[in-house]
Point group: C2
Chain length 205, copies 2
DNA sequence: TTTGATCGGTAATTGGGATTTTCACAAGAT
DNA sequence: ATCTTGTGAAAATCCCAATTACCGATCAAA
């Protein structure tokens, strides 16, 4: 089972195949669309045999779930790191930072919002659940910043749960529009809009 | 071809079958899920033969598109009518009305937001286009009210396009969460949140 | 009451893909 | 040098559901 091949250990070769599959899937799912993407097509593009595919994933949907998780994780990691850097800044600065980094991260590649906000919707109960978990995480993040603002006296002291969920929805909707819009919307405008919206939503009376 | 059956003219019989198919589809698509819904299942529930199905629709997806359009139209009709009633009210009152009626309409039946914001996403290019058209209509609606507010001097004079799109996203996101949330979220809270968010977004400096 | 069109239901037909298996080969191991 | 074992490519299988074709039942008009 475990044997070095071509000077490369088996684990690494598996990992590389997996990676190639994920890369090809991001491309295929966002161009052809998830539903119409065929597994054989995916394997061809990744330069991997169908057998290898089933060694790594149980189904096409599992690939989609993995990508969905990855993209969200990537964004969350970036945002967390950025907030660390402005740990002692005032609440409004932190909120602006949060959105700027979030928008900047997911707009690096239009395929990311496309996959997360279009292709990965309504696919299965599992994926819907995964979506809810991420909405929850993002909302919690926003809530935390809102509370911080409230403690600093620049925002009212109230329950921010629904506001946070609505803001996640606003970001989702705007990015979904962004990736589909013709002619392209300027990324800066999207970021600026979300920043302003969030500040207004939190500081409102 | 044209013959009265059971005292009922053929057109009416067709229309009734069509209606039964749409009713059954709303139920099936939002419980089983659009992807996993089988045409035969749909026909059985509607009490219609597969032959009749193909007389009315070209595909399962066409049924989905029809429902998607209907739900949006229904909401738009209600909202338009309600705004007529407060034609001369101040901008803020109209905006509150707009959201209240919108939320009230689509939450009458949780299957409506489920269909529109979950099942009908990422299905096909045609449906994505239809989605964009509706986002555009709703955004235009919101923009109009924002301008009205600006003219009345209660909001700044600026471009509200992206704000409007973001607000449509916020509504979508919140309603998607609403229809999936366990335990259920109070409808009034959702309406109140959207109202406050929109007012804050429009009156912000 | 006979006739012929239309109906609902059901039984083929068909086609597309997912999943499995086979096979010949290449690269370590001994 | 020979034997094992992992490997990719392709072929074979299998499954499922969309679409079509058929059949007896029903109804309206002559």
């Amino acid at each position: 089972m475990a044997r070095t091949y071509g000077g490369v250990p088996p684990e690494q070769r598996r990992a590389e195949r997996r990676e190639r599959l994920l890369t090809a899937a991001l491309e295929l799912f966002t161009s052809t669309g998830f539903r119409q993407a065929k597994i054989t097509q995916l394997c061809t593009r990744a330069g991997v045999s169908t057998r290898n595919f089933y060694e790594e994933f149980g189904s096409k949907e599992e690939v989609l779930r993995t990508l969905h998780d990855r993209i969200n994780s990537l964004a969350l990691t970036h945002v967390s790191a950025a907030l660390e850097e402005v740990r002692d800044a005032d609440a409004m600065t932190r909120i602006a930072k949060l959105l700027d980094v979030f928008v900047a991260t997911v707009t690096i590649d239009p395929r990311m919002p496309r996959l997360n906000y279009v292709e990965a919707v309504g696919v299965s109960p599992e994926l819907e659940e995964q979506h809810q978990v991420w909405v929850d995480r993002w909302a919690t993040f926003i809530e935390l910043e809102a509370r911080r603002a409230a403690e600093a006296g620049v925002a009212p002291n109230r329950d921010y749960r629904l506001t946070a969920i609505a803001l996640v929805g606003a970001a989702t909707g705007l990015l979904r529009e962004w990736q589909a819009h013709e002619p392209p919307l300027p990324v800066e405008d999207v970021g600026a809009e979300l920043r302003a919206l969030m500040l207004a939503a939190i500081t409102r009376a």
